[in-house]
Amino acid sequence: MYEAIAFYLLAAVVAGSAFGCVIATNIVRMALCLLGTLGGVALLYFLMAANFLGVVQLIVYAGGTLIVIVFGVMLTSRAAGVRLRPKRSEALAGTLICIGLLAGLVTLLVRTAWPAAQSEAQAYDVAWLGNELLSTYLVPFEMVSVLLLAVMIGAAFLAQPSGKDKEPEER
C-alpha cells in the first residue's frame, strides 16, 4: 500500500509539473517545473528499486543539465520578461494532436495484456550494475564516452565568441 501511495503522490508531482511546463509562459518557471519533473522521476526510479539511476538522475539531470538550461535561459534572455506566446492556431493544433495521441496511447496501454514477468524483480545494486556496464554493455559505454568528448569539444568551440563580435571593442 505504501508503494501505491508513494506512486500516486510522485505521479501527481511529475504529471503536475510536466503540465506546468506546458502552461507556463515564463521560461524560468518552465525550468522550475522541469526541476519538479526531474526530481519526481528520480524518486520514481527509487520506487522502482533503481537507486543508482535515481541518484544519477539527480546529479546529472537536476544538478547539471537543469543548471545548464537555466544558465542558457539567463544568457539568452536579456529581456526575460518578453513572453513568446504560441500562436493560437498552433496551440490549438498542438493540443488536439497531443490529447489525441495521449488518448490513443492510454487506450493501447491499458488494453494490452503484458506478458507476465519473465524473472523475479531483483534489487539492482550498484556493483551489479557496474559489472554489467563494464562487461555486457562495454561497447555502448565506450561510445558514450567518445560522444561526450566530442560534445565537450564541440560545445567549447561553439561557445567561444566569434571573431566578428570582437571588432567593435577596438573602436
Binding site: 501505491a4 505521479a11 511529475v14 504529471a15 510536466a18 503540465f19 511546463c21 506546458v22 521560461i27 518552465m30 522541469l34 519533473t37 526531474l38 522521476v41 520514481l44 526510479y45 522502482m48 528499486a49 533503481a50 543508482f52 539511476l53 544519477v56 538522475q57 546529472v60 539531470y61 543539465t65 545548464v68 538550461i69 542558457g72 535561459v73 544568457l75 539568452t76 534572455s77 513568446l84 504560441p86 498552433e90 496551440a91 498542438g94 493540443t95 497531443c98 495521449l102 496501454l109 491499458v110 503484458w114 514477468a117 519473465q118 524483480a121 531483483q122 539492482y124 550494475l129 555486457t136 555502448p140 560522444l147 560534445v151 564541440g154 560545445a155 561553439l158 561557445a159 565568441p161 566569434s162
Partner: protein
Amino acid sequence: MLAIGLTHYLVLAAFLFCCGLYVMATKRNAVGILIGAELVLNAAGINLVAFSRYETGLADGQIAALFIIVLAAAEAAIAIAIFVNYYRLLGTIDPDAGDRLRG
C-alpha cells in the same frame, strides 16, 4: 488499483511524453523546446526502467536509461551553446526567426 504495475508507469510516461511533445511543438523559445525534449527523454527513461523492473529483470533497461541521462546532458550542453550563438546573431531566441540560411 493498489498494486502498482507496469501499466501505471507506462500511462504516466505517456502523459509526460505528450506534454513534452506539446512543449516542443508550440513554445516560441528555443530553450523551451529543449525543456520539452527533456520531458520526452524522461518519459522514455521511465518506460525503460519500468520494463526492466516489471518484465525482463535485466540490466538493459537501466543501462539504456543511464545512457539517456548522459546523452540528455550532452544534448543540453550543445543546444545551449548553439542557442547562445543564435541569440548573439539574431538577438532573439524565437526559433521561427532563424529561417535564413546565412549566419
